[in-house]
């Protein structure tokens, strides 16, 4: 016996209505899935490219590939090869392939300080043809501040050592430079002495009688002979001194060149790093502020707000014993 009768007109064709509703929902879901797939580029033609990296840090399947900031593909496969290097396969949407040339470089970059890694396609000569399926492109790993500092250190330390050794050489009391200067001092003193003696002699010549002139002239001749000897000695030693001086000047010149090269390198390095520094500082500042806000929010959330004592705003009262 039927307890309920379907006399209510709202129950007519109930079965058909349920089927219709179910089909409608199914259709909407299918349309949604199709839309998502289209949005994700599943029905877009793709071209496979690859490169080899020294190290696999940061790579992951599904990692974005960008060109001028736009997503143009993904990393499809990351695998270690027989040479212990990392083969990376990319799937690039074919419509964007016209901008990827044989000299295009894939550079690994990071979003912010702690963001995801992605590959940015950089360069590409306009005159070159686009790459084709299976072509190899260049790869440049991300250079962190630590890398820059390490590179700078490796390039600077030999120069500093060279400057140090040159200065040591110049300052060495037994070295060529100091010896040369000492010799010059000595010779200058001898020349002055000789000049004094010649002056003295000439003064005496004026006051001497004729009978003494010859003897005086003999003396003068001897003095001049000695002067000749001194001059000859100077002439003999001068080339050596000049060689030493030239050698010292060459060392100084090399030192100056090294210092100049170092300054230029530092300037280049700074030029490379400088554009990134404000961003890094700003990101760090934002990161610290965000972290502080997050921590503050966490401290105010249950159950941490029950476990932690909030820091008061009032300064502690100083003890009377201070």
């Amino acid at each position: 016996m039927s307890l309920l009768k379907d006399t209510d007109p709202r129950f007519r064709f109930l079965g058909w209505r349920v089927v219709f509703f179910g089909l409608s929902v199914l259709l909407v879901l299918l349309a949604l899935a199709l839309g998502v797939a289209l949005k994700q580029g599943m029905f877009v033609g793709k071209t496979r490219l690859h490169f080899t990296a020294e190290h696999g840090a940061g790579f992951a399947t599904g990692m974005q590939v960008r060109f001028s900031g736009f997503r143009i593909g993904v990393v499809d496969k990351v695998a270690l090869n027989e040479q212990a290097k990392v083969n990376v396969d990319l799937l690039i949407e074919s419509r964007y392939l016209k901008w990827i040339k044989a000299d295009t470089t894939a550079q690994m970059l990071q979003e912010g300080l702690m963001g995801d890694y992605y590959l940015e396609m950089i360069g590409g000569s306009p005159g070159l043809p686009p790459v084709k399926e299976g072509d190899r492109i260049n790869f440049a790993p991300a250079q962190s501040l630590a890398d820059i500092a390490h590179d700078l250190k490796n390039r600077t330390i030999p120069i500093i050592d060279s400057v140090q050794s040159t200065l040591d050489y110049i300052n060495d009391p037994k070295g060529d430079v100091r010896q040369t200067v000492a010799n010059v001092h000595q010779l200058t003193a001898e020349l002055r002495e000789t000049r004094a003696r010649v002056d003295q002699l000439l003064n005496r010549v004026d006051g001497l009688a004729d009978r003494e002139v010859r003897a005086t002239l003999d003396n003068a001749s001897r003095v001049l002979a000695k002067t000749d000897n001194v001059v000859a000695e100077v002439q003999g030693r001068l080339p050596q001194m000049m060689d030493y001086a030239a050698s010292s000047m060459a060392s100084l010149d090399a030192t100056a060149r090294n210092a100049s090269a170092m300054a230029a390198m530092l300037r280049n390095t700074l030029d490379e790093a400088a554009p990134r520094l404000p961003g890094l500082v700003r990101n760090t500042d934002d990161l610290v502020r965000d972290s502080r806000e997050t921590l503050h929010g966490l401290q105010q959330s249950w159950p941490l707000n029950k476990m932690l004592t909030p820091t008061p705003l009032d300064a502690p009262v100083p003890d009377s014993r201070r």
Binding site: H296, W302, P312, D314, A315, P316, S320, R321
Partner: protein, 270 residues
């Protein structure tokens, strides 16, 4: 049973998460109070330079917001931090401005006068004058009365008025409750007064009580003072082992802590 438990947990979690987000605080107030809290945290960790930096930032923020109570807070903190850094002149500058202006809350002015009295503790009359001002500002329901009594007792000890020291320090001790620093100070003052009154046994008990608190407070300077007094007391009692123990403890403290009272005692134990 387990389903009911899970449901209960689910409802509990939902209740916990159901709180409405806090009201949005203006950026300047947020950063200012953040700096103020950072300063208090630094002061609690005895990082006084950091505390000065943060309180100065907070003071500028409160000034920009025309928040005089906040300014008072920051000034009191700066006064205390500079005093701990040995820059008494700067500390006075921040605190004296509070005495002169009635725009600061009375309790903060009382605190400022008290801190100035601490700075002038060696100038007896000036310190007493400031302490009177602090009591006047603080009024009847003053939360700083224990500190005031102890400081008054300290000043009385400076002029050798041991009867006042006993009265004030006992009053502070009775009211100290959960303030171990003030309790130990009161015990120490009572011990000193007992020693001056030739009651070494009483002094020894007060000093032992003070030492109990000072060990918990981990204040080397106070511990050194306590042990010096204990050494004197033990000498009066002819208690040689206690004298030696007090000396040994002083040497041990001086070997580890760089405090002014240790000059001439460095070296100490290995």
């Amino acid at each position: 049973m387990s389903t009911k438990l899970l449901m209960g947990l689910f409802i509990l979690i939902l209740t916990a998460c159901a709180g409405s987000p806090p009201a949005r605080v203006p950026a300047l107030r947020l950063s200012t109070e953040e700096a103020n809290r950072a300063a208090v945290s630094a002061a609690q960790a005895l990082r006084w330079e950091n505390a000065v930096t943060s309180w100065r930032e907070a003071l500028a923020g409160y000034q920009a917001m025309d928040d005089w109570q906040g300014q008072g807070r920051a000034r009191l903190g700066l006064g205390q931090a500079y005093a701990r850094l040995g820059r008494d002149d700067l500390a006075r500058g921040y605190l004296e401005a509070m005495l002169e202006s009635a725009i600061f809350p009375e309790e903060q002015r009382a605190s400022a006068a008290y801190q100035l009295a601490l700075l002038d503790v060696l100038h007896h009359d000036r310190a007493l004058e400031l302490l009177d001002a602090a009591r006047r500002f603080c009024g009847a329901n003053c939360s700083l009365v224990v500190q005031f009594d102890n400081l008054a007792a300290r000043l009385a000890a400076g002029r050798g008025d041991w009867e006042s020291v006993r009265r004030l320090a006992q009053r502070a001790l009775d009211a100290a409750g959960s303030m171990p620093a003030e309790r130990s100070h009161a015990h120490r003052l009572l011990g000193e007064a007992a020693l001056a009154g030739n009651s070494p046994l009483v002094a020894r008990e007060h000093l032992r009580a003070a030492l109990l608190d000072d060990r918990q407070l981990a204040e080397p300077e106070w511990l050194l003072e306590d042990y010096r007094l204990l050494e004197k007391t033990a000498a009066l009692l002819a208690d040689d082992p206690l004298v030696q123990e007090a000396q040994m403890r002083q040497k041990s403290i001086c070997a580890a802590a760089r405090i002014p009272g240790c000059s001439g005692q460095s070296g100490g134990l290995p």
